[in-house]
Amino acid sequence: MAAFWKLVWRNVLRHRRRSLLTCASIGLGLAAVMFGQSLMKSIQRQMILKSTGVMFGHLQIQVPGARDPKVPDKLLGNSRRYLDLLAKDARVEAASTRLLFTGLVYSAAASRGLLICGVEPEQEKRLSIIPNYLTQGRYLGESPRDIFIGDKLADELDTYVGEKLVVLAQSKSGELNSELFRVAGLFHSGSLSFDAQIAYVPISMAQKLRGAEGQVSYVVVRLTDVDLSLEAAQEWTERLKDFGVRVLSYEDIALEIVGVQKFEDAIMIVALIIIFSIVGLGIWNTISMSFFERIREFGLLRAIGARPALVFKLLVAESALMGLLGIVSGLILGGWLIAYFGRYGLDLTLKEAMSYFIPFEAVIYLHPVWRLHLWAVFGSFTVCILASLGPALRGARLAVAKALQHI
């Protein structure tokens, strides 16, 4: 076996520049795939963390049959019992209730249509990242008539911290209700949807406006890890099956985010196929050239008693060795790129495109996604092996006498 690998190694070194270029192309291909995977997943991760952080949470308990799970039109009663049950689950970091509905807000200068979000202020601080975007004043909690709005909405309403606003909304029975609020604080998330179109008020006042005492749109849950959401949703669905509610993970609610993820994953697969095809063609070319240059040598090996399988194994092993060398260099380069951009970040100006829908950081910090990177390594190695099979099979099937006459 040692003699076999010695021969393989020396054959790879026979044309050093060619082998180096082949290894480099495998390495660069793998590094590009790893970088792409990391970038896509880092963007997706931020999308998930931001969207769950600002609105959806990781889980929601709702009344089934809502037309839009983001703003359920059917209200949930007796939410306390769900919160009590959730409090016993070690995976639950925080849970609270929200009441969402549309309304109008008036200032002395202007009025705007918007989404009213009734929250439990103390719990909401542990659930949502919106309080973190505070720029002026304070968050909700000191007075039941506090209102927390985005700076863009404040501009449009020409209002400031401490000034009064009136919110008008239709109650469940169809009557118009209005309540007076005082601007407690302003936030700037960078997302137009949040900064100009949502107002946060204490849930008790929201229920009063909506005429829905003791009722909420949903119970929202933050888990210790977002990746637990699917598993937890399934488990809680089973536990609450007799309660007449449904438990949704953020993936069931944020369908646009899931759609974007799927689209990006599809693009990544296409890119992967293109990169692996180029790598495959490179290694096929190298092994084919090596095969044609050494036909006489293979004839000799067969003449002195090597079985056809040895010639086959020799060519496949040479390809595998170049693949391994390329993969090691690709892992080093790809790992370095991810570590570098993980530390210093990468500004892709995605913020402008994404931030209409959700707050989005301008700089993306890459993270390794080892599960996907391992697939890329496996894919690179498989491509190297597959690309060598053609020349290797030809080598194994050589007519010995003819091969020995090859010039």
Binding site: R14, A303, G305, P308
Partner: protein, 226 residues
């Protein structure tokens, strides 16, 4: 004495654009310990006949028997094993593996046979000593002269003590002096160690050293002279 090789009415036809009859109805016997040559002009079928005897090619018709055993029914792997155990080859173009040293080229046959390392090294060194190249064992083929490369090829052909060494025009790429030295070496191996040699050649030097010459023309046996 039972022949080592019995060539029985062997015909080889190549089917390219037109049918080419390279060997036609050829019969001959080779005995153990012989130092024989197949002679004939270019294109007479010498190399084809040697390839058929060496199981590197298969006859269209006829049979070749080794120690009374037919080889035409053997599979590719069985043929490879047969060549590995029973035959040695020396080619006109030396045909050494360029990435291996002289020692490793000779040793490779024993590696294929699965001979243990210590025994392998001893046999390889012995074979290189026989051809007078033990001092150059670490050199790669590109650092050896043509004559030295052909000596390595001879060492490789005998290292596993085969029944028969087939040498296809072994002196064709060598000058007269080196050719004579090579023939002396092979004659010496034949006499001292009883190795059977069968050459194909039209080189008068080779033919003059052979103890028997089988003449072939247009693929047919012309004469068989001792």
């Amino acid at each position: 004495m039972q022949p080592l090789i019995e060539i029985q009415k062997v015909t080889k036809i190549y089917e390219a654009a037109a049918k080419v009859r390279a060997v036609c109805d050829f019969s001959a016997d080779i005995f153990p310990g012989e130092f024989a040559a197949i002679a004939g002009p270019s294109g007479s079928g010498k190399s084809t006949l040697l390839n058929l005897i060496g199981t590197l090619d298969t006859p269209t018709r006829g049979e070749i028997l080794f120690e009374g055993r037919r080889v035409s029914q053997l599979t590719e792997n069985q043929l490879a094993d047969f060549r590995l155990r029973s035959l040695g080859f020396v080619f006109q173009a030396f045909n050494l593996i360029p990435v291996l040293t002289a020692f490793e080229n000779v040793e490779y046959v024993l590696i294929l046979q699965g001979v243990p390392k210590a025994e392998r090294s001893a046999k390889t060194l012995e074979a290189l000593k026989w051809v007078g190249l033990d001092k150059l064992a670490d050199r790669r083929p590109d650092l050896l002269s043509g004559g030295q490369q052909q000596r390595v090829a001879v060492a490789r052909s005998i290292v596993h003590r085969p029944l028969l060494v087939l040498a296809d025009e072994p002196t064709a790429n060598l000058d007269s002096k080196t050719s004579a030295e090579l023939m002396d070496l092979m004659a010496d191996l034949n006499e001292k160690h009883g190795i059977t040699f069968l050459f194909s050649s039209h080189d008068p030097l080779v033919l003059s050293r052979a103890k028997r010459v089988i003449y072939i023309r247009d693929g047919m046996l012309q004469a068989n002279e001792s």
